[in-house]
Subunit: 73 residues, 2 copies
């Protein structure tokens, strides 16, 4: 999956969907890639990644701990 900056809808929503699909294949408790890694992997900004993760958190798909990372809920 890649990000479409033109007419693909908001980038943070696209990223959230990509991560949703990825999470679906991961076991509960597995750590997600760090924000920094996601920035590099998908070529988006820090704020966009955090926006996407906040959405997944709000959906209860992941849990996040400061200083540790985000994990599949």
């Amino acid at each position: 999956m890649t990000i479409d900056h033109e007419s693909g809808g908001p980038v943070w929503m696209q990223l959230a969907q990509i991560l949703r699909d990825e999470i679906a294949t991961m076991p509960k408790g597995r750590m997600l890639p760090s924000v920094r890694t996601l920035v590099q992997t998908y070529g988006v900004s820090d704020g966009t990644v955090k926006h996407a993760l906040a959405e997944l958190r709000a959906e209860g798909l992941i849990v996040t701990y400061q200083g540790r990372g985000s994990y599949v809920a």
Copy 2:
């Protein structure tokens, strides 16, 4: 109410509380000050104001229309 940048907790949360108090005194349908105005009034950034408003939106206290403004729900 003012913002305490030291040890007063996250600014966006403080602002959200200030606005919650203000909204409690406003009639339903009344328009809130614009992001721009809140930025100037409280001396915080655009992103911080938006964060606070997003919180109030998530709580159902206000509704926001693109190109118009935010209103007491």
